[in-house]
Structures are given as C-alpha cells and as structure tokens.
Amino acid sequence: MKVPRHPMATQEPLERIRNFAEVALGYSPEFALEEAQRCLQCANPPCVKGCPVGIDIPAFVQLIRQGDFTGSLAKIKETNTLPAICGRVCPQEEQCEVVCVLGKKYQPVAIGRLERFVADWERHAGLSSTPQLGAPTGHKVAIVGSGPAGLACAAELARFGHKVTIFEALHKPGGVLVYGIPQFRLPKEIVTFEIDNLSSMGVEMRTDFVIGKTATVHELMNGHGYDAVFLGTGAGLPYFLGIPGENYIGVLSANEFLTRVNLMKAYDFPRMDTPVRTGRRVAVVGSGNVAMDCLRVAKRLGADEVICVYRRTRNESPARREELEHAEEEAIDFRWLSAPVAILGNNEGFVTGLRIQKMELGEPDASGRRRPVPIEGSEYEIPIDTIVIAIGQGPNPLATKSTPGLELNRHGNIVVDEATMMTSIAGVFAGGDIVTGAATVILAMGAGKQAALGIHAWLGRLARGEVAKPELAPAGA
C-alpha cells in the first residue's frame, strides 16, 4: 500500500508543443498490474458512487490484477460504452478518484489510467468483439447527433435488436470528440475505432444530414418511418462576450478555432485547404476544458505568446486538473483575476489588442462562489493578434426550433423526464449537452444509455398498441 501511484509517461513539454501527438502515453502492462494491486477492494466502494454511470470499478481493477485484461474491459463495457475515451477525458479527480479510500492517506488508485489501459490494450491487440445482439425487433430509431450521447444510445439500442440510424450534420462522425477535443488529448483513431464497432453492430451512419434542415424530426417519424427519435445535438452554439470589438478579424469562437484545427486539420495548411492563423500573440478568454484545448492548440500552431484570461482564480477554473497542469507545463501565461473589457483593432478591421481589467474576489454569490469584482483603475492593454472566446457553448437551435411542441427551458435546452429521458413529444427523447448544457463526455454517454432504456420500453408499448406515434405538425408550413 505504500507503493506510490504509478506515474503516467508523457511527452516532454518542449517537445510536445511542436506536435499534435498524444501527450499522455499510457501505462505498460507491468505498470497496470502493479497499480491495480494498490486497490483495497473495498467492501463498500465509494468510487462506484463517484462514477456518474456507476462502473463496477473494484471488479474491473481486480480483473486487471489477475491479468485478465479482456475480462476487465468487458466488465467496464457493461456500463461504459466508450472506455478508451472516458479514461482519457473524464475528470477523475472530481468523480471516482477523489473519493478513493486509498486517497485519504496516500494517492488514489489511478482508476482512469487503468480504464484507458485495458481499452487501449484490446484495440492494439486487434481483439474487439461485437457484443451479442438481440433478435431484430423491426423497430427503427433515429439518433440525431453522433457525439458521445448519440453513440452510446445507438450501441445500446442495437444490442436490443432495433435498427438504428445516426444522423450527423458534419462530414465526420464523433461530434465534439472529433471537432472539439484535440488529437493530443484524444487521438481520432480511437473515435474511428469506436464508430467502426458500431457499424459492425449494424448501426447506419448518415453524415452530411442536418436535422432541422435536410429533414425535421416530424419528417423522420412520418415519412422516413422512424418509430422513435433521440436528440443528442450537444452544445453547438458559441457564446460571445458582447464586449466592444468582438467582430474584428482575428476574434474567433472556440468552436471555430477548434473546428478548423481538429476537424479540418488547418495545422497542416496548405496541404489541407482550411487555414487558421494565430499571429504571434494569442489570448484565450475562459479557463474550462475548451479554453485549455484552445491554449494548447495555439501553442502548437507556433504562437510565441499564449495567454489565458480568466476573471476568477485557478481554484475556480472548471478544467480537468491534468489539462490545466499540462497547459502550465507548456509555458502558457495564465492571467487569473483578469476580465476582458474591450477588443482593440485597426482601420482595416484586424485585432490589435485586448483591454483587461484586474479583478478581486468579493462576497460569495448565490452559488456560494466568491464573485469577481473589478478593481477600479486597474485596466491595461496588451497587444494581441488573435483572440479565442472560450466562455461556454449553448444549445444549437436548428433541431429544437424546427420541432413544434418540443418543450425547452429558458436557455433553449430540451426538457426531459428524468427517468425515461422522453421529451414533451411522445417517442422523442433527448440527452447529453442539449439537455444539461455543456458538461462531460461521461454524463452524455450515461444519458444516451438511459434514453436507450426509455426508448426500448416505449417501443415495447408501441408494439402492444398502448401508445401511438404522434402526428407532428410540420414546422413553419
């Protein structure tokens, strides 16, 4: 037990800022076995309760300890459809590892790294197995969005024997897993591998199909013949600050910046046709995971100065701790307690600088967090070439606004029954960021799975004639 938590090999900072290759290199089998032995196999494991989807952590760790990596992965997959992804992007320090009993006196078991290890091991060994599929039910389900919520929902429904089609607006499936999270955190080969697994389960993927434009939810259920619809359209609406100068050239939303680099591979311009430009100095406003990704991408694109501007302190940063630490190692300039007041530009319309006001933490607000308060007379200006606004993403209205009768909350998120995940329209379900607002991959996945159970139950009732598909009115007829 006095064996310390095994470190994860990483690329050295000075080297890794010049490439987009993965930073965290993974455990060797020896490290994994040794780390698994640190687990106390608690009778009443708090880690299981800490996990948003309740993975049986002691069980999968025990199987690693016994050298049964395949069995370990199967155990994880009973609950978590995408372990190679979650092992990399889950904020374990807030979920399973923070409540680990070993962590009370020593360092917690590296649960996330172990999860990642078995998933990678299987993939590298070429051992993926298609799970047992139920007999075909004859029901068709449309999944809108191929991000983590949609992928998890699809996998579960396919297992029940339903015929699933995923509709994706972009030309590559994966949602935020491909356009949002950079290669150096989540290699795209992993996403491709998981999606190929879905194909082998009979799930149909239709890219370049925008629900709300190419077809509406109404048309999916009447006309295209789907018996149920799951909306997993995510948080695809960029928020801007509303400060002066935000439309100068060189001010980008985080979504635009990351989509150019991650999805369209603009770091490889001119071999790839989509450009992105940072100039020498980049400021990123915000300090969540998306902001960390933007900062580290800007560094890798060759910007000399990369600055994080955040109005609260490091303690309040919602980013996964490992991303924050990796960003700090990559010599990014963190300006805590700094709020952007105005964006400066020249006559040609290009960004030239950012005016910042210093903040201090005042009285707690309604959420209990100390509210940032401007310090009078503390404004100063810095020269900047590119500003990335990473203050959050909201619900994209294309699917919701084209579905009459769909109840939304005041932010535009879809309201659902917490148990069944069904919306105000019978047979239409939703989960993930489109319901909760921008959150984590694992929560989206958990919601997708839960919705699949709700959909399966509803389809059963449909088959028995207990419920009927709604006659939806077409939008804007």
């Binding site: 030309h171 925008v210 190419t214 001119p270 040609e348 319309g349 994209n396 209205p397």
Partner: protein
C-alpha cells in the same frame, strides 16, 4: 459521395454543376445554400443553390473560379463526386405577393437570384430584373432569368452588352421611370449590395441583401460568418443569408471577407504552379 452528373462552363470561369442530392432537392426553397467539401484535404465552402429538381433528385450549383477550391472544382468531370454536400441551409427567402419586386443581380450573384426571382413570380409578383456584369460574357444565366422576369435590363461595366454602367444606375432609372417598387432584392459583390442599399434607403424602399460571408460549418456552430445587422451580431448561415440591407454593416462584411487573403493567395499560387507544371509536361523546370 455526392455525384456530379454534369459540369458545364457557361461563361468564362463560371461552371454549372448538376449534383445528385435527392434529400436536398426535396427540401430546397429559394434563398438557401449548401456547404460543399470537394475532397478529403479540402475546405468547406458555401454555394447557393441555383435550381433544384425534386423529381430528378438533383440540385444545380453555379460556381465561379475565385480561389483554389473553385479552380479545382472547375477541373471536375461528370461521374466524379464531392465528398460532402450539406443542406439546404439558411433561412429561405420570405416570398409573398408584394406587388412589384426588382431583382438586382451582379456577377455571380445572378445564380442565387434565379430561384428567388422564380419564387417571386410564382407568388404573383411583377418581377423586374436588373442583371449586371463586367463584360458581355459575364452576365450569366440570361435565358433562365428572362423566363422568370416580366422585364429585364442588362448592364455591363464596359458597355459590351446592354447599357454601359452599374446596376445602381439602371435601378435609379427604373425607379424614376416606373415609380418605387414594393421590394428590391440585391445579390452580388458586397460593394454592389451596399450601393443598392444606399440608393433605396432615402426612398424608403424595402431592400433585401443576400450576404456572402466566410463560413466553416454553415449550421450556426462556429460564428465565422458573423456580421452586424442593426448593431446586433447575427450569423449569416442561420439568421440569413438574407437581411434587411438598410441594417447591414457592409463595411464590416467587406473587412471580414479579407481575413484569409494571404492564405488564399498561397493556395492559389500553389494550385497554379502545380497545374502549370502539368500543362507544360516534358519541359524541365528548374
């Protein structure tokens, strides 16, 4: 893969593509566009839909060669395909019986005007069209526009066809001669649309402009296409592409269109160098 059924050069550097896209054809309404990604290393570009045939399951795109992507598209043959065609995107033109509608199309803007003029005609409007181009050959789609216009006037910068001058000159003359129309729709280079808006503003003639911003996704998720309308930020891809021309900050649009000029130039030069090499195959190049 979205198959190109035909590609025809209808004017110098203007190509008409007929593309197999049944779902888009079925849903297309005037004023809407598609995002096209030609191939794996390509970029996504917005192209307005010039026509659609729901029965045949095809859409028609008119593409002007301006940079690398469109120049590469110009070399495509029937039977090849685009990796991705997404749509129909954008808010459709609001069409109703206004009375008299003047359609002002400049250069490449004539293609998106075609379905709008057709829609306005079908709704019972009297459609007066003014089409302009730099020179005779570049006033495109004349027979198609004549078929949907009650009257049509042509202008060319060099006077080689129709009346010498700008579309705004012809518009001013038309208003003087026939009185104020109920609506003006202007599509063309930003500077042209700005000039039309300035002409109709003091006359209080409702005027729509269809904007041509840089776009990446086309579905409202990135904000690359944002412009200022009545002092508020709007996304051309979802709130537009049409807006009240008197409220659009055209100067901002013109500036924002310049964002990637250096990169566009690099891409163009590389493309031309590549193709020049092939064109003079057999000659050693240093």
């Amino acid at each position: 893969m979205f198959k190109v059924l035909s590609r025809e050069e209808i004017a110098p550097k203007f190509h008409r593509f007929v593309v197999a896209a049944p779902e888009i054809a079925r849903k297309h309404r005037p004023g809407q566009f598609v995002m096209v990604l030609p191939g794996g290393t390509g970029e996504r570009i917005p192209l307005t839909i010039a026509a659609s045939d729901a029965e045949a399951g095809t859409i028609t795109l008119v593409v002007q060669e301006v940079g690398k992507t469109t120049m590469a598209m110009a070399l495509m043959s029937a039977g090849e395909g685009f990796l991705s065609v997404v749509g129909p995107l954008g808010t459709p033109t609001h069409i109703e019986k206004f009375g008299t509608v003047v359609c002002v199309g400049g250069g490449a803007g004539i293609a998106p005007m075609l379905p709008i003029a057709g829609g306005m005609r079908k709704a019972g409007n009297r459609v007066l069209s003014i089409l302009g181009g730099r020179t005779h050959d570049l006033v495109i789609l004349r027979p198609e526009m004549e078929a949907v216009s009650d009257e049509i006037v042509y202008t060319t910068d060099d006077g080689s066809f129709g009346r010498k001058g700008l579309v705004t000159h012809a518009l001013a003359d038309l208003i003087a001669a026939k009185g104020k129309p109920n609506l003006v729709v202007a599509i063309g280079p930003a500077i042209m649309m700005k000039a039309v808006a300035e002409l109709t503003r003091p006359l209080a003639i409702p005027t729509l402009a269809s904007l041509n911003s840089i776009m990446v996704d086309g579905t409202g998720m990135c904000g690359a296409c944002r412009i200022s309308v009545d002092g508020k930020t709007k996304f051309v891809c979802v709130d537009g592409p049409e807006f009240n021309a008197h409220q659009v900050d055209f100067d901002l649009l013109i500036k924002r269109l310049r964002m990637y000029l250096p990169e566009e130039q690099t891409a163009r030069e590389r493309f031309l160098a590549d193709h020049e090499c092939r064109a003079v195959a057999g000659v050693a190049r240093g």
